[in-house]
Symmetry: C2
């Protein structure tokens, strides 16, 4: 596959699943050929620290600092801070590793000194020797709230980590999004001639939606007539990681890749042009096509770096066949 | 030695040396018989954290959480936070252990939520199962500044840790002390019938002076006619730990226990009534007596818990012989 040097891609990513494909894309695309936009809706303030789970997962993954055993956090991590905090009666429901703490402390310090989140990520990226550009969806504060069947509204990390996704969800709200603007890096990418937008295999409700629902983003993508490709985050009726399948079931949607495709069409009309299905879901291809989406069927479960690069190649080749 | 139950003692302490005697005193005195006042002049803000070195040393020592190998910080400590911070380009001149971080994070969080430093220490003490009462000298912000021969003024931790006490000192200033009031626990002890005040073997310039120079403290002690005993922090012409001897030399004072006694007399008149000399300094006893101070000569270098308790007993027995 030959990708013209002038091509530029926008990759939208949540945490673990998205970061895997971003790593694959970074193996195929030159640093100046891709802007990675990370979700910040699940950022939160905890113990006085600014914590950005999706950004850090993307950073650690691209730096090869990520913990492959745990699937989150840093490699060669230790947990003495958390043990000591527990002993002192501090809040220990969110697992903060000793190495990971350095990222949060430094970010909190820089934000406190007036830096933007974009500037913080740029500095962290440089120190991690990450060549590709990672930007937050916005420098403004957007916080995902989870509405629950039991009438409670939980902040995302309370739902996701503290309560282990047990509450039944009825909907989501991205508090602050009305006043949020795309970050400078995101804006620049939106205003540039894009070859395609890759929506990584991330949770549509809490990872992708906050990015797309920043005012003006969908309209700008549609006006630019850029092909948008979604890689299904549901394979064989299950999410590879996280609560997406459980959420779909609770929201009354089919808990399948077809359900994901339907969700994108219902929410964003004809924005998405291409949909990548896993081989396990080949039987759903015609129904996805019937929604007006072009498809490819390929191995989308990324276990090795080879898998990640292969899916990136397949996705880019697919995108090049699409017209917006 | 029988200490009447109604006796109450005030112990003034800096970091390591002071904490050793406080531990000895805690082995002799019941929890309601002692108030420990810790210096906060060397507290500082670093990486967005509120750090209180002397308080933490006293807490860790009384909890038996202190690191005996290093002489500071927590036992069984690890350093992955600091290594990760260095890798990210953060300020790493002040060694913060992974376990120690929990104390700073929790304190910063509690202070940020409006708690006083006294309340924070109370909570930490409870979690550490410390029975004796430790209070900060003040809940107000006092910050020791070090004036240097090269005309610079350094914050204490910059002088002490970052610059490893290398600059030649010309004097000290306790910024904020004019508006500082003794903490509630310190005030209560000052207002109660005290049997004696024990000035632990801590640096007179940067550990003891900030406590005594809070407005009203010396006058209140003199009015109360309570015997004040100093344990010399200089033994055989050297400080057991820290820059006290170097400071005395730079300030043009005799670098001896006699110099320490002269300093207290010059600074605080007849406040101090008793002075504890190490056996290594027995030759200085008559000269100290000539300053108007009663003396005992005993082993004041505390290597074991036995040493600490023995020095505590000797000091209390000595204090009981003094009249204010």
């Amino acid at each position: 596959m030959d990708i013209p040097h002038s091509n530029h891609y926008l990759a939208l990513s949540g945490g673990v699943g998205g970061a895997k494909l971003v790593l694959g894309l970074s193996g195929v695309l030159a640093p100046d050929q891709m802007t990675v936009v990370a979700n910040t809706g699940d950022d939160f303030e905890h113990l006085g620290l600014n914590i950005c789970p999706d950004i850090d997962t993307v950073l650690y993954t691209l730096a090869d600092w990520n913990n492959k055993e745990l699937g989150w956090g840093q490699a060669e991590e230790s947990w003495n801070f958390l043990a000591a905090l527990k002993r002192l009666g501090g809040e220990n429901w969110f697992s903060l590793g000793d190495r990971d703490m350095a990222t949060h402390i430094l970010r909190t310090q820089l934000l406190g000194a007036g830096a933007s989140l974009s500037e913080v990520i740029e500095q962290l990226s440089a120190k991690m020797n990450i060549a590709h550009r990672i930007v937050p969806m916005t420098d403004e504060r957007v916080r995902t709230q989870v509405h629950c069947r039991d009438q409670r509204t939980l902040s995302f990390q309370h739902y996701f980590v503290r309560d282990r996704c047990q509450p039944e969800v009825t909907g989501f709200e991205f508090s602050g999004i009305d006043k949020a603007r795309p970050s400078a890096g995101f804006s620049a990418a939106l205003a540039s001639p894009l070859s395609a937008v890759i929506i990584c295999p991330s949770n549509p409700f809490v990872s992708v939606a906050p990015i797309l629902e920043i005012p003006g983003v969908v309209a700008q993508l549609q006006a630019a007539r850029v092909p948008v490709v979604v890689i299904s985050n549901i394979v064989g009726g299950e999410a590879i990681k996280g609560p997406a399948a459980k959420m779909m079931s609770e929201l009354g949607m089919p808990q399948t890749a077809l359900g994901v495709a339907q969700h994108y069409v219902e929410q964003y009309g004809d924005l998405v042009k291409g949909f990548v299905l896993d081989t396990a879901d080949s039987a759903l291809e015609k129904e996805v096509n019937a929604l007006g989406l072009a498809t490819i069927v390929t191995k989308s479960v990324m276990l090795t770096l080879y898998d990640k690069i292969e899916l990136a190649k397949q996705t880019l080749a697919f995108a090049s066949t699409l017209e917006a």
